[in-house]
Amino acid sequence: MHRLRAYVIPYRVWMTTLIILPSLMILFLAITDFDLYLKGPFVFTLEGLRVFTESTIQIALMNSIKYSLLTTIIALLIGYPAAYYLANLKSAYKTFFVALIIIPVWSNMLLRIIAWEKLFFPISILNNFGISLDWIGSDKAIVVGMLSMYFPFMILPIYSVLVKLDQHLIEAARDLGANGFDTFVKVILPLSLPGIVSGVIMTLLPAMTTFALPERLGGGKVLLIGNIIEDAFMKTGNLQMGSIISVVLMIIILILFKGIMTVDKEGETLL
């Protein structure tokens, strides 16, 4: 078996190059005035940190935290029971129902965002059903849109843990005097923690960083840090500002990643 270990070496080099190198590069861009494309001389400067005093940036940071937390909490509160229901379904079509959760993810996300956008304007196909919404730019629009996009990422990791849960542990808890509620709180919930942590992170991070969704459903009024990064890298070319925000984001990711790795060392809940 040990001869097979050689297969890992090129992959390690490839992954290190494409993960560590750019991370250092972004950190470097954040504290210098280096131009990525002209590659001229550069000087170290902390000038860029001043972006944190700008109200647009502050609002974008606050919005990212607000919307991602709100979405994640609601997605967990509704997604956990749904995952539980699916995991305990006694039907030959169980795998089919679970597959139904994944299918929407395979539909183009931009189009799904547009679909919500169309419904949230006062004049929409909903008028045919006597409904007229004026939600564009509201919290509702963004949270509903996010839930619709990220529910599967919350549900699937929780489902995969619950469906593998040893039924004998539940029977053992009942045998030792636990009623349904006790069994859930003392056995099922703690044992599904890895799935919950994965689900929370896989929902929180995309929600925090999306830029297409707030752009469309926010009607141009709501900015998230994703929008700031997109603007900086793709439109204004202010790489230093983009990198500074990215570094903040990467610190958050690092903390969350540590969380995932403590409960699920091999990433078994990530698929």
Partner: protein, 265 residues
């Protein structure tokens, strides 16, 4: 009490399905809506399905999407399988370290992966285009193949590889003739995931492709809220969704049939 809990669980499940399928239904509706803005439903028509063939830029974007998906999935599946086999043979600590590295692109939000690759490509003497898009797709696909192959490898008999060699296989033959067939389902799942991730990717392609080349997502994003946005893309997306549902139904049908047969024996 039990009934109330069950009812609430069912309610949550229904709510989830409604929220995630609402946009799918709307897209399907738009694909048969003659209106070109899609703001109201004018009348039923299949005109946008025919329009796919007439919209050269959209057709080219579909071609790019499929080309990149097929090439990147092929590369990622082969490489990912070998990498997973390698990782599985590592000692526990080394394996866990490799899995941390492997899972970074899985957990990382697309925007971080996107700008990271953009910065690396910017440093290298290559121009942004289909090549960089392809490398990016291979990069984010391999970890998913590894994640779906690894559990199958863990179920394997630890002595399988040695047994194959004992019977005269070279190391590579043992992998190709014995291990790969045994983990076939994991490889197929991994390839399917890689393919769908590639077809739907927007954010990473956006940061790594430059302006010359467009896949479907980039085509859409460039036209959001503009007049040259064609509802033909709704038709394209609906076709893709229907095809995936049919494939899944067939797979599920076979697994149900297999289950039934096992029960009957």
């Amino acid at each position: 009490m039990k009934q109330i809990v069950k009812g609430l669980l069912l309610l949550a499940t229904v709510l989830v399905f409604v929220l995630i399928y609402f946009p799918i239904v709307v897209i399907a509706l738009m694909s048969v809506n003659a209106s070109s803005t899609g703001q109201t439903f004018t009348y039923f028509s299949f005109v946008w399905y025919g329009e796919i063939a007439n919209n050269t830029l959209l057709l080219r974007a579909i071609g790019t999407t499929l080309f990149v998906a097929i090439i990147s999935t092929t590369i990622a599946t082969v490489v990912g399988t070998f990498v997973a086999i390698g990782i599985n043979s590592l000692k526990r600590n080394q394996r866990l370290n490799m899995m941390v590295l492997n899972n970074v692109p899985v957990v990382n939000p697309d925007i971080v992966t996107g700008i990271s690759l953009m910065v690396v490509f910017g440093l290298l003497p290559i121009s942004f285009g289909i090549n960089t898009m392809l490398i990016a797709h291979v990069f984010f696909s391999i970890p998913f193949v590894v994640l779906s192959v690894l559990p199958k490898l863990k179920e394997l008999d630890k002595d399988l590889f040695d047994a194959a060699q004992d019977l005269g296989c070279t190391s590579l033959q043992a992998v190709v003739k014995v291990i790969v067939p045994a983990i076939k389902t994991g490889i197929i799942t991994g390839a399917l995931i890689a393919f769908t991730m590639s077809i739907d990717d927007f954010v990473i392609s956006y940061f790594t492709t430059g302006s010359g080349v467009q896949n479907v997502s980039l085509w859409i994003y460039a036209r959001l809220g503009r007049r040259n946005f064609s509802p033909a893309v709704y038709a394209y997306n609906t076709i893709v969704t229907v095809v995936t549902i049919v494939i899944l139904l067939r797979l599920n049908y076979y697994s149900i049939k297999k289950k039934m047969r096992r029960l009957n024996q």
